[in-house]
Symmetry: C2
Subunit: 219 residues, 2 copies
């Protein structure tokens, strides 16, 4: 499939590289391809992932069947606006953002929560996109290589209003090695999953590693 990954940080790289390795046609979206190419760390990453193209947000999204929002929560709506509503129309939009506010330092707080969520705001801002909130409750290393933690015996959530879109995302998650894809229902479930960030951050401190994940144990 044609997949556009918006964002060139750790999450964007992890997913772009993994999707490319799985045989998808991957393009990475960034604000300024020229500026991104000037970064030594990006050039190194790109050299190791030569099949992944790089373009501006709109150009990246234009030709994609699936768009992945792998940007920081505080810029996600701006980035998606730059990608352009027309380029998101009818497409599966995998949203991995967390509404973290680092303005008062660490630990961050959440700039939207409880009665609303970033997933819902994105769906509301781009009503013809088919938003699926997923993967944002784990570290990027675990997103793309679930087997590296506990043999992969843990849970990834999907939430969104479009059942077909969740099916497409579930297929991508399964291909990456996820074995327990748990459908939480409509996009308002993002309230619950985004509010897991404080416990996730606390666990990272307590365990001394980001290499963990939640499993929902049931009979």
């Amino acid at each position: 499939m044609q997949i556009a990954v918006l964002g060139t940080g750790g999450v964007g790289r992890a997913l772009a590289g993994r999707f490319a390795a799985l045989g998808h046609d991957v393009i990475m979206g960034t604000r300024s391809p020229e500026a991104t190419l000037e970064r030594d760390d990006h050039r190194e990453w790109a050299a190791a992932n030569p099949s992944v193209a790089l373009a501006g947000y709109a150009d990246a999204a234009a030709g994609a069947e699936i768009v992945v929002n792998a940007t920081s929560g505080d810029v996600s709506l701006d980035v998606l606006g730059a990608a352009g509503a027309a380029n998101l129309d009818g497409k599966v939009l995998m949203d991995l953002s967390n509404p973290l506010d680092f303005s008062a330092g660490f630990p961050p707080t959440l700039f939207v929560k409880d009665t609303d969520s970033l997933g819902e705001r994105i769906q509301a801002a781009f009503p013809s996109a088919r938003v699926v909130k997923t993967l944002h409750t784990m570290n990027n290393s675990v997103m793309v290589d679930p087997g590296a933690v506990g043999g992969g015996d843990h849970t990834v959530f999907v939430a969104g209003d479009d059942a077909d879109a969740k099916g497409v995302v579930t297929g991508l998650l399964t291909a990456m090695g996820h074995t327990d894809v748990l459908d939480l229902g409509d996009i308002s479930a993002s309230r619950g999953t985004e509010m897991m960030m404080p416990i996730w951050l606390r666990l990272m401190s307590a365990l001394g590693t980001a290499e963990f994940n939640f499993k929902i144990v049931r009979n």
Copy 2:
């Protein structure tokens, strides 16, 4: 040990009954023992748990070594005030409350979150009590019989400022069958665990049962 369980709802009953079955000396605290005894459901429960005494909040807490807050979050500070700061002085205070606000219906919102927590408010209001936040991230049936879900292979959190108090609570949890007691650090970790309520509620809807729990999977 002498354990006072404040609250006669589902959580209070589950814990009082289980602690009594484990051989502890258990007294249940309620606002008005007379009113509680007039309730048919309580009389039935008490008949099945004859070793559990019933008293007002202050009388229950006065003789206890461990006090368990098993009341609704919206009344917890009032109930603990009625129990009396002097009766909590130096004691282990197991806090199981969740700051749920049902005033706008279901799902509830949280009346404290993100930059503060009910666990912290309780510790601040009763500074000489040794508050340990625990067990509130699972259904009361799972609290007292963890083996009934996934063979008990899941996680219970403890958080609090007093290491000895966490040790006492860990002993009680282990005696009930919990095998993975994860220490999150000081009481401010309550922000993270209390903010798990929205995902817990969503999971209950998605799974159609409250018989589940979180496991923190790590290597």
